[in-house]
Symmetry: C2
């Protein structure tokens, strides 16, 4: 094992990050216990500390507790779920319908993460031919939020089976603001060791080496040392000496 | 301070996550030292462990070390930088031109994170009216990569001043694959305490309470306990008892 760089965090602090990343799940079942404000505040500050193109900080957070509005969101979900189900047929549709895909009403809090382009004006450092850069930044904030929540013991479920037009109506979100993520958030009984869709056999986890290309899309390089390393449990020995 | 939930990580492990989040920077200057394969492998595995809509894992990673290709990318950057500069005028344009915005040639490795829609077929669990869900998932992987790199002492800089058409040509990326993030990656001298654009006065950090809305976009709720909590340093006492 190689010595760490002086700017690296200590192994125990790195372990905190990696445990969070590996233990994060897309949750659909929640306990109803309220979330202390200081805990939810840390999670939101973590989200706000994501990087953003041109330091635009394009995100806002709508904290949703109101039951009537959540019931309206749930109704939109139910409609879209049928549309989603009809993309599948036979046993696969049946399996789709067996999944619980949201916890809109059970979770004590829902959070809408939105994107506002041009917050500091139309000119953005870092935005030329790639137009979606602020939306990308907003997603980085979502991942920070999701990880901080996991570390605090809070489950987060991203509900994408929705329609933005109705979200704008229900929450009075202006047309120029894009709802990027609708998240259910709350404490959970337990975080399962693997994603629900993996356990259910809906899709398989891809082996990491199969995702690597070297200098060109067409060069997969299965014998590259890096491609061997990503599949090697030994790379984790320094971080998880007890496993 | 409230007691932690049983599913929460211990304070020291949570500190590892929060230190990483707060210490992550968009870096543009790199040391030339090579990155050990085991370190880069951990960073890539962390990226791959992001959540994805319908467990589609839509990301691929092109590991770029070839100098000729990086020089071609740099040439595209130089053209786009001029286009970007012309969005600004006067002192602001001059300041823009003074910023170093990439480390394409200095960093030992560049990484392109791409998005492949329909990896397991056109039907996607969780994709109905919101079409960009797989791109959103890809950005979550980028943030995992960025955080793991920071914890390992590696700087990452996201270069968005590029054109996807040329990236596809240089790296033989098929038309149906979207290059989402072009990242420079390498060890650095030091991580600055604040973002470069904040220190330079390009834009100010927004106070967190200014980003919160309650049940409706129009309800800012500055006196909500949560809005007070996000600006309160006391919420960090359990995590950083020494600060």
């Amino acid at each position: 094992m190689s010595a760490s760089d002086p700017n690296a965090l200590t192994p125990i602090l790195r372990r905190g990050l990696y445990e969070t990343i590996f233990g994060r799940r897309d949750m659909r079942e929640f306990r109803s216990d309220p979330i202390p404000n200081e805990v939810l505040a840390r999670v939101l500050v973590a989200a706000h500390r994501a990087g953003s193109v041109g330091f635009t900080q394009p995100w806002d957070f709508v904290i949703v507790r109101d039951l009537k509005r959540r019931q309206a969101v749930k109704a939109v979900f139910e409609e879209e779920r049928w549309r989603n189900a009809h993309q599948f047929s036979g046993a696969r549709r049946k399996q789709f319908m067996s999944f619980k895909l949201e916890g809109i009403l059970e979770a004590p809090v829902n959070i809408i993460v939105t994107c506002r382009t041009g917050r500091f004006g139309p000119a953005v450092l870092g935005k030329t031919s790639i137009d979606e850069v602020e939306v990308f930044s907003t997603c980085l904030a979502v991942q920070n939020l999701w990880l901080a929540a996991r570390a605090e013991g809070l489950g987060v479920g991203w509900v994408s089976i929705l329609r933005n037009r109705e979200l704008r109506q229900i929450f009075a979100i202006p047309d120029e603001i894009l709802p990027v993520a609708y998240l259910c958030c709350g404490y959970v009984e337990a975080f399962p060791p693997r994603p629900q869709l993996e356990t259910a056999g809906w899709a398989d986890r891809i082996a990491p080496h199969g995702l690597l290309h070297f200098d060109s899309w067409e060069r997969w390089g299965e014998k590259e040392p890096l491609a061997l390393a990503v599949d090697d449990p030994a790379i984790w020995r320094d971080i998880f000496p007890d496993r």
